[in-house]
């Protein structure tokens, strides 16, 4: 980087307020645009997609529908990809979706120990902790310890099943519907479905409903 700074300072004075990583990314982007490899409009459209269109509210809709529509839950169990496509979700980072349903006997937890595989179309981009060494290392050897890091204690006797996303299959946890939500609408239910409850590091939050 010092050589880089030396070459650049006289014709990129306006770049001086950038950190080294910001400067590197700017340089790479302008190089790729200049060489015709990427369309700047495509970059903006990709960012806009994951900032405003694709995120965990999609997954919450899937969960709420599964809670209120037993036939939909059955279709989701049988073919996750097709069932989320009924709500117009799918595509990059979620070409093959499997929904895993929590039961009173077993709680599901999703991880990718080898990289950062995550069901983008239904949960959006993964949080930093999901991609970081503490989670990726510990989830498979000490899942109860991971849940404790999130302040989650499972009921006595509930087993834990960890799914390591080593292929292009992407998993979505369908949490148990909390007691006290009888008669709620899909919209009300979707509001209590947190992102973490669909990864398995959390549970639906009744106090999130307002």
């Amino acid at each position: 980087m010092s050589g880089h700074d030396h070459h650049d300072h006289h014709h990129h004075d306006h770049d001086n307020h950038f950190t080294p990583i910001e400067a590197r990314v700017k340089a790479l982007e302008s190089l790729m645009v200049e060489k015709g490899y990427v369309d700047p409009a495509a970059l903006d459209a990709i960012i806009e997609t994951y900032e405003t269109k694709v995120g965990p509210r999609n997954g919450a809709r899937v969960v709420a529908k599964a809670w209120t529509d037993p036939a939909y839950a059955e279709r989701l169990k049988a073919d996750g990809t097709a069932a989320v496509a009924e709500l117009s979700y799918g595509g990059r980072g979620g070409e093959h979706i499997v929904a895993v349903f929590n039961t009173c006997e077993e709680h599901n937890l999703i991880v990718c120990t080898l990289c950062s595989c995550y069901p983008w179309p239904v949960l959006g981009l993964p949080p930093v902790w999901y991609k970081s060494p503490p989670y990726r290392s510990k989830a498979v050897i000490d899942p109860r310890g991971v849940l404790a890091d999130f302040g989650v204690t499972l009921p006595e006797g509930q087993r834990i099943r960890v799914w390591d996303s080593t292929a292009e299959t992407r998993f979505l946890v369908i949490p148990l519907r909390p007691a006290g939500t009888e008669g709620w609408s899909e919209e009300q239910l979707a509001a209590i479905v947190t992102r973490d409850s669909m990864i398995g590091t959390g549970l639906p939050q009744l106090d999130a409903a307002s």
């Binding site: 880089h4 990583i21 982007e29 490899y37 990427v38 990709i46 093959h96 510990k138 390591d164």
Partner: protein
């Protein structure tokens, strides 16, 4: 390869630290790295497995200290250089010097929504019947290849049960290295905690991996 990426079961990283109200991005540059990776991947010059291999080839000390978007940035730079789209000299200068190489495709702004929605499905038409069925006991092979693999170290040489047969999927180990695409049957194989981690492990936990057929032998 047994690189910095193969983290399952390693210790000493401390607790998981969730960030309350975490923003989608922690800075403008992270947005650009995401978009550049997605757009460059859509050029069709390398497979998702080759891009994973580029990231796991980062020396472990760097891999473990980088944020994930730093890993993606380093991986993308490596892929662009390896495929002759940019040179180290150009990366250092931040401007085009050599003649551009024509990519197979350039993702246009107006096509982004359709391309992301379509995705890149990895299931292929099978050419043979699956060797294993649901309920079969299988053992994962022991191997320590220099090349890319999706069989993590903690799950090598372990006995588990086939829980699901997921169709025939693109095989990553060879596809990461420029070989013509092949596909194999893919299975969900579930192991008990004690099988993976020894007799002191929590017997009320189990872990599954997605395993291609050549990772498995009958148990």
């Amino acid at each position: 390869m047994n690189g910095g990426q193969d983290l399952g079961g390693q210790m000493g990283f401390g607790p998981v630290k969730p960030e309350p109200n975490e923003p989608i991005f922690h800075g403008e540059w992270e947005k650009r790295v995401l978009a550049l990776n997605v757009a460059a991947g859509a050029m069709g010059q390398w497979s998702i497995d080759e891009s994973r291999h580029a990231r796991e080839s980062i020396p472990p000390a760097d891999y473990l200290s980088f944020s994930y978007y730093q890993i993606w940035l380093a991986g993308l730079q490596g892929l662009l250089v390896r495929h002759g789209f940019v040179s180290e000299h150009e990366l250092a200068e931040g401007k085009a010097i050599e003649t551009p190489r024509q990519p197979k495709r350039v993702l246009k702004g107006e096509d982004v929504a359709a391309v992301l929605r379509r995705g890149f499905p990895y299931e292929r038409e099978p050419k043979a019947r699956p060797a294993f069925s649901v309920g079969d006991a299988v053992r994962t092979i022991v191997m320590h290849p220099q090349h890319h693999t999706r069989l993590p170290r903690y799950a090598r040489g372990k006995t588990g049960i086939v829980e699901r047969v997921s169709g025939c999927h693109v095989f990553p180990d060879t596809g990461a290295h420029g070989a013509p695409e092949t596909a194999q049957w893919l299975y969900t194989v579930v192991f008990t905690g004690p099988e993976l981690w020894g007799r002191d492990a929590d017997s009320a936990t189990s872990v599954s991996i997605e395993a291609w057929e050549s990772y498995l032998e009958p148990a």
